[in-house]
Symmetry: C2
Subunit: 244 residues, 2 copies
DNA sequence: CGTGAACTTGAGATTTCTCAAGCGGGGTGG
DNA sequence: CCACCCCGCTTGAGAAATCTCAAGTTCACG
C-alpha cells in the first residue's frame, strides 16, 4: 500500500477499497515457494514483508532469476489477464497478501487512481527488465555485478530496509550469478575485486556501500529506470565510517 | 486495431472511440528513428505497417536490442504514465500512428474492453522480455539464435507477414547479435551451423523455416510466452518444398 | 564441537570476442 | 546496360572472458 501510494495519490476511498479485497497475510518461510513456476491461482499476491525473487528454469535445470522483490511489490500482477510463466521464491521469511483477481480487476476499472498506480507498477517492472537485458547482453561481468548491487541497494532503501549505507542482503552469490547470467565462481571473483577496490563490503548477509560514486561508475549506473520517488537525498551518502 | 482485438473483444463503440483519437499515420523510412532514445512526446505511437526494433545504448556505443516490433504493436505504451527510456528504429519503411497520451488514458478509464486489451499488451511485452532474459542469461548461443528465429517467425506470421514457411526478414545478422548479446561474427557462425543442419534458409532478407520441429528443439522453444491467438495450425507446416 | 551451506581458490577447458581481411550481390549512376 | 561501390556477410586466427570441475575453508547455527 505504501508502495502503491508512491505512484499515484490514492483517495481515502481507494485505500479502503483495496483493503476490502485483500485477504489475510500468509507467512512463507525462507526458501519457500510463494508462487510455483506456472502455477494457477485465482488470486494476485502482494509481498508485504520479506524479500523474494522471480525465476524461470530451463529443462536441464539452469535457472535464470528475473527480478528481486521487496516489500510492497506485487508478486504476480501478470495474473490480472494472463497466467504466470515464472516462479517466485522467498529469500527471507515473508508475509504475502492475496487479492482475488476478479475483484482486483473491478477495482482498477472503478478507481482511476488505482488504475494509474498499478499501471505504473507494471511499466516500471518492464523498465527494470529492460535494464537487466542491457546488462546481460552488453555489460562486462564487473559492471553487471556492480549494477545489480546498486539497484538492489536503492530498492531496499526505498522500501525502508537500509540504514545509512548498509542493508540486509539475503541474496547469495549463486543468486547473483543466476540473476546476472554468470557462473557462481566468476561472480565470486568479481565480488572480490569490488571488495579489494574498496567499493563494497559484503559478508554475513549484509551489504555495505563503501564508495557509492565508485560503485556507480563501475556499473555505469543511472537510477532513472527505477523511477524511485526518493524522499531522501539523490545518492546514498558515502559515510565517513571506517571499514569494520 | 487488428492486434488489439486479438486480446479482448472490442465493442463497435470502442473501436470508433480509438479511431477518434488516432492522428494521421506518419511514414518513417527504413533505418529511420521512430522514437529517439529518451525523447519526450505527448503522444503514444502504434506501428501500423513495417517492422522496427526497440534498443538501448551504452556510453561506449554497445547497443542492446530489447525487442522487435511488428504491425499492430504499440511502440511506446510506457509513455502512458512514465517517460520512455529506449529508442525505436525502423527496419523497413513504416507507417506510425499517434494517439495523444492524455486522450488514450481517458479512453482506458472509460472503456473496460480497451483497458483489458492494453493491459494484455504490456503484460505480454513483459513476458517476452522475461523470455529474452532467460535466453541471454542461460541459453547457449545456438539455442538463443534458434529461439529468436522461432519467435520472430511466429510473430510475423501472426501479423500476416508469412507465406507458409517463409517470411520477409529485414533483420541483419548484426541486429540479431545486438538482440542476443552476441558478437556479429559469432552470430554468423551459429547461423551457418543452423543452415548446414538444414533447419533454416536465410538469405536476401528472407527467412525460410526448413525444419520447424528441429528448430524448436534446438531452441527449446515453447511459444506459450507469446500468448499468440493462433487462428492457424499450432505449428507452421514443415512443407515438402525443395531447398531452392 | 559437529555440520552444512556458502564462499574461496586453483587450473585447465570452452565459448565467445576482436581484429583484420576478403567476398558478393544488388542498386545505382554514368 | 554495365561497371562500380557499399553494406552485409564470411572466414581465419589469436586473445580474452568466462565456465567447469574439484578441493578446500569459513562461519553461522544447532
Amino acid at each position: 500500500m505504501a508502495t502503491l501510494q508512491t505512484y499515484a495519490a490514492l483517495s481515502a476511498h481507494e485505500r479502503v477499497a483495496v483493503q476490502a479485497i485483500v485477504g489475510a497475510p500468509r507467512p512463507v518461510g525462507a526458501e519457500g515457494e510463494i508462487v510455483g513456476e506456472g502455477e494457477f491461482s485465482a488470486d494476485c499476491h502482494v509481498l508485504l514483508e520479506g524479500q523474494a525473487f522471480r525465476h524461470k528454469t530451463l529443462a536441464d535445470g539452469r535457472r535464470q532469476i528475473l527480478g528481486f522483490l521487496v516489500p510492497g511489490d506485487v508478486v504476480d500482477l501478470q495474473r490480472l489477464y494472463l497466467g504466470v510463466d515464472y516462479g517466485v521464491t522467498a529469500l527471507t521469511p515473508c508475509q504475502v497478501a492475496t487479492a482475488p483477481r476478479a475483484k482486483l480487476e473491478d477495482l482498477l476499472l472503478q478507481h482511476s487512481g488505482l488504475a494509474r498506480a498499478f499501471w505504473s507498477l507494471v511499466l516500471i517492472e518492464a523498465s527494470i527488465q529492460r535494464a537487466w537485458m542491457l546488462g546481460m547482453g552488453r555489460r562486462t561481468a564487473r559492471a553487471r555485478v556492480a549494477h545489480l548491487l546498486c539497484e538492489v541497494f536503492l530498492r531496499l532503501r526505498e522500501a525502508g530496509l537500509a540504514r545509512g549505507n548498509r542493508c540486509g542482503f539475503p541474496i547469495t552469490q549463486n543468486h547473483l550469478a543466476d540473476a546476472l547470467g554468470l557462473s557462481g565462481v566468476h561472480t565470486n571473483r568479481v565480488l572480490q575485486a569490488l571488495r579489494s577496490e574498496g567499493l563494497i563490503a559484503l559478508r554475513a548477509r549484509e551489504l555495505v556501500i563503501l564508495d557509492w560514486p565508485g560503485l556507480e561508475e563501475a556499473a555505469e549506473f543511472d537510477p532513472a529506470y527505477l523511477y524511485l520517488h526518493l524522499p531522501f537525498a539523490e545518492n546514498p551518502a558515502t559515510p565517513p565510517i571506517a571499514i569494520p
